[in-house]
């Protein structure tokens, strides 16, 4: 037991080190290109690290395997995190990353479907990913495929009515191979979710529609893995991640400004210092 938990501890530290590296990559590509969305990219780092470095059955050597797990970044504006993770995992190259958000480049500020780069779906318009993931999950069940579908949504995205259309359908059809993940950083494009469209009680809403709900600290690997390892085999699952927008850089945390602003040189240096060591 002790051995197990010390191994687990070491693993968790390993993922935290990776997360810091991912945040540095995000900071770099956003700083270089003066791109927006560093805040909502930082809030999903731990979840993407957990999925890509431990959990998902996908590989850059076998990216078109029909039995692969599917990850859909429905909140496509957090693509800097996806790109950083895909680069670290070897799906895309450093050259690809250098082609982020430049004229004639390779990667846009929202993802474009390209399986050779590990990108399952073109997203950027909110409210699409869960329906498409639902269709994939339905196909998987009918074909008796082993793969699972994971769809990451923003909390502001839950304002979209189409999300709830998919929630109702997946709950009704008991799509147990579908997991929604909500990045509940509590800040949407123009302010706090509680002031714009209050989502609470968020977990109960999903539960009412027949989903198995996990509410966790989205920056805590132990809780993330516990949730991923205890998904219901009977129902669709949702993992609500309580997160902090801009997580990892003190002056960006919980601040709407960083939905839009890219760091200047001074801010970049300060942020890099916080993300190093």
């Amino acid at each position: 037991m002790n051995n197990q938990s010390s191994k687990k501890c070491a693993d968790l530290m390993h993922y935290e080190i990776i997360s810091k590296k991912i945040r540095r990559t995000i900071l770099d590509i956003i700083f270089k290109t003066k791109s927006p969305h560093i805040g909502p990219s930082f809030s999903v780092v731990e979840m993407l690290v957990a999925l890509y470095f431990d959990y998902l059955n996908i590989s850059p050597d076998d990216f078109i395997n029909p039995d692969r797990d599917r990850f859909i970044l429905s909140k496509g504006h957090a693509c800097a995190t996806l790109y950083a993770v895909l680069a670290e995992k070897g799906f895309i190259t450093k050259d690809d990353l250098d082609g982020f958000a430049i004229n004639g480049g390779i990667l846009e500020q929202h993802p474009n479907r390209d399986l050779s780069k590990g990108i399952e779906l073109s997203t950027g318009s909110l409210g699409h990913g869960l329906s498409i993931g639902t269709g994939m999950a339905l196909a998987g069940k009918i074909d008796n495929k082993p793969y699972k579908i994971y769809v990451l949504l923003g909390d502001g995205e839950l304002n979209e009515g189409s999300v709830w259309e998919a929630v109702m359908f997946a709950g009704h059809h008991k799509l147990n191979n579908l997991t929604a993940i909500v990045d509940h950083n509590k800040i949407q494009a123009l302010g706090c979710t509680r002031d714009i469209i209050d989502l609470e009680p968020l977990g109960e809403k999903w539960e009412c529609f027949g989903w198995n709900v996990h509410e966790i600290d989205g920056h805590n690997f132990e809780q993330i893995f516990d949730a991923l390892n205890s998904l219901s085999p009977e129902q669709p699952n949702v993992i609500i991640l309580h997160t902090v927008k801009g997580k990892g850089v003190s002056f960006m945390e919980d601040n709407l400004l960083w939905h839009y602003r890219a760091p200047d040189e001074k801010e970049y240096t300060l942020a890099l210092k916080e993300l190093t060591g």
Partner: protein, 305 residues
């Protein structure tokens, strides 16, 4: 026309295990046989068109050949952004079956009319648009659409459409159908207006004018070759469609004719771009909006004098 389309699709559905049929809770009794045959490939998604398009896309991304059904404004307009991104941009194998082209739903009113769909769908890259003119064409198209891989919008009427053909026509997606060859005057019609074009042509022939009639069942890709070829031998060209005058067949033809230097007289006949509170069945509304054979005939006579 709807019945022949789905009867053919039903036969295919038995043979082809990749066919999925989705409806957004419309089509009373239409899918009863599909449900009996193989219930796990037919889904009533619920009154949720956006979700239907998303689910169709997820299924298509998993190798399925998906048909989505609803009444045109709900299918095309409610879920247009999903069609734009999920289906057209990803170039997925999804067939959108819209019923109620033009004034089909007559007395049910404006909310149910399909008047702007062709314009919307024409502007989407990757989208093929086909509008059968009669029940036999609809049946042929059901079969052709299965083998066609990619996004397709099929605009149907509903029931009781008169037949144009005596036997199953040779129907090729993207190839217009020359139904009658005449001189000087050419009518290009799409969907239910093909029959009305035929009636108009009969009226014209009684006054000694033999007109050419072309069935433009495919709006995209448009058979430009046919338009250019006919334009070379005709002084008067008229387009006939039960659609807003902007953005449909007439607009598409105007682009081709203009760019190819047509010097004759070209007139679009469609629904004026003006909302009117006009109540009636489809025949009544066609009369009101100038799309009955008599009204078209009068307008053509006026133009060619």
């Amino acid at each position: 026309m709807r019945a022949t389309f789905f009867k053919t699709l039903e036969d295919l559905y038995k043979e082809k295990e990749d066919i999925f049929v989705l409806t957004a809770d419309l089509g009373y009794k239409l899918f009863d046989n599909l449900k009996i045959q193989c219930s796990d490939r037919f889904y009533d998604i619920g009154v949720a068109e956006a979700n239907m398009i998303g689910i169709a896309s997820g299924l298509a991304l998993s190798g399925k050949n998906v048909y989505c059904y609803s009444i045109i404004p709900f299918l095309v307009m409610r879920a247009y952004e999903q069609i734009r991104i999920d289906i057209a941009y990803h170039n997925l194998n999804v067939k959108l079956i819209g019923v109620g082209g033009g004034f089909t739903y007559g007395l049910e009113g404006f909310t149910h009319f399909g008047l702007e769909d062709l314009a919307l769908m024409r502007s989407l890259p990757n989208m093929t648009i086909v509008v059968p003119a009669d029940p036999l064409e609809a049946a042929s198209l059901a079969r052709l659409s299965y083998d066609y891989r990619g996004p397709m919008y099929i605009r149907l009427g509903k029931t009781g459409e008169p037949t144009i053909h005596n036997k199953i026509p040779e129907f090729k997606i993207g190839r217009a159908m020359l139904l009658n060859e005449g001189k000087k005057v050419a009518l290009f019609a799409t969907g239910n207006m093909v029959y009305i074009g035929k009636e108009t042509a009969n009226m014209l022939s009684k006054t000694g004018i033999t007109s050419t009639l072309v069935n433009m069942h495919t709006l995209k890709p448009l058979d430009e070759e046919m338009i250019i070829q006919i334009s070379l031998a005709h002084d008067y060209i008229f387009s006939l469609e039960e659609h807003n005058i902007h953005g449909g067949l007439g607009s598409a033809m105007a682009e081709v004719l203009m760019e190819n230097g047509y010097k004759g007289c070209f007139r679009r006949m469609g629904i004026p771009d003006k909302l009117r509170n006009c109540i009636g069945n489809a025949d009544h509304l066609r009369q009101e909006y100038g799309l009955s054979p008599e009204k078209i005939y009068e307008r053509i006579l006026k133009e060619i004098k």
